[in-house]
C-alpha cells in the first residue's frame, strides 16, 4: 500500500494496460441536443415569420410558397432538426420519470419511432409539394 498517492486513477489496471477507456461518445447526446438547438434558433424565427406571412393564404398560395427551393429546404431542415431535438429531449424526460424498465423501454421505442415517422411524413409532404405531384 503506497502512502504517497498523488492521484488515484479511476480506471482499472487492466483497462490501462489494454488502453481501454472512454469510447469518446459520452457527450454524444448532449452535443447533438446543443447542435440541433443552435440550428433551431434561426430556423424557428424563420418559421414563425413565415407562418405570420402566410396567415390567410389559400392552398395555391401556401403550396406555391413551400415549392420555392429555399423554403422547401429550410422546412426540411426545420423538420429534421426539430424532430431530432424533440426525441432527444423526450428521451431525457422518459429516463427521468419512467422508472419501470419495461415501461421505460417501451416509451423510448415509441418516441424514437414516432419522431422518425413524423419527420419523414413531413419531409415527404414538403417534397411532394415542391416537385408538384
Amino acid at each position: 500500500m503506497s502512502t504517497a498517492k498523488k492521484s488515484a486513477p479511476m480506471r482499472s489496471a487492466l483497462g490501462r494496460v489494454r488502453h481501454l477507456g472512454s469510447a469518446k461518445e459520452g457527450v454524444q447526446h448532449w452535443w447533438a441536443q446543443r447542435l440541433t438547438a443552435l440550428a433551431l434558433v434561426p430556423l424557428t424565427l424563420w418559421f414563425v415569420a413565415s407562418i405570420a406571412w402566410l396567415a390567410g393564404a389559400d392552398h395555391a398560395g401556401f403550396t406555391g410558397w413551400v415549392a420555392r427551393p429555399h423554403n422547401a429546404l429550410l422546412m426540411i431542415l426545420l423538420l429534421g432538426a426539430g424532430f431530432h431535438h424533440a426525441q432527444l429531449g423526450l428521451q431525457v424526460v422518459i429516463e427521468d420519470y419512467v422508472h419501470g424498465e419495461g415501461a421505460k423501454l417501451a416509451a423510448l421505442i415509441v418516441v424514437k419511432f414516432a419522431a422518425l415517422l413524423l419527420a419523414l411524413a413531413g419531409i415527404f409532404a414538403v417534397l411532394k409539394i415542391a416537385f408538384g405531384a
Binding site: 424557428t44 407562418i51 406571412w53 402566410l54 413524423l118 409539394i129
Partner: protein, 131 residues
C-alpha cells in the same frame, strides 16, 4: 437491483420555490408541448400536399376558436422554449451562472417571449388583412 433503504439526498420537495425553478420546469413542459404540437405541423403539411380540399379542412380546424387557442399556446411555448434555450446555451458556454444574472435572464425570457408572441400575432393578423 436490490432495493435497500439507504438515506437519500434532499429532493425537490424540501427546497422553497424560486422563480428560476419555475422556468426550469417550464422549459421541460414547453418542450413536451412543442413535441406534441409538431403533430399539427405534420398534419398541416400533409393536408397541403394531398390537395385543396384537405388543406381547406386543416385551415378550418386551425382557424376555429379552439384551433387558434392551441396555436396561440403553441406560439408562446415555442418562443419561451427558444428564449430559455438560448439562456441554456449561454450556461453551456459557461456564462450567466451567478444569481443576479440567472434571475435577470429568467425575467427577460418571460417578457421577451411574451413580446415576440404578441409581435408574431400582430404580424399575422395584419398580413391576413393585407392578403
Amino acid at each position: 437491483m436490490a432495493k435497500t433503504a439507504r438515506p437519500l439526498s434532499p429532493h425537490i420537495s424540501i427546497y422553497s420555490w424560486k422563480f428560476t425553478m419555475l422556468l426550469s420546469i417550464l422549459h421541460r413542459a414547453t418542450g413536451i408541448a412543442l413535441a406534441a404540437g409538431t403533430l399539427l405541423l405534420v398534419y398541416w403539411l400533409s393536408a397541403a400536399a394531398s390537395g385543396a380540399a384537405a388543406f381547406a379542412d386543416a385551415q378550418g380546424l386551425i382557424g376555429s376558436w379552439f384551433g387558434l387557442l392551441v396555436l396561440f399556446g403553441f406560439s408562446y411555448a415555442l418562443f419561451f422554449h427558444l428564449c430559455n434555450g438560448i439562456r441554456h446555451l449561454f450556461w453551456d458556454a459557461g456564462y450567466g451562472f451567478d444569481l443576479g444574472t440567472a434571475w435577470a435572464s429568467a425575467l427577460a425570457t418571460v417578457f421577451v417571449s411574451a413580446a415576440l408572441t404578441v409581435i408574431a400575432w400582430l404580424a399575422g393578423i395584419s398580413f391576413m388583412g393585407g392578403l
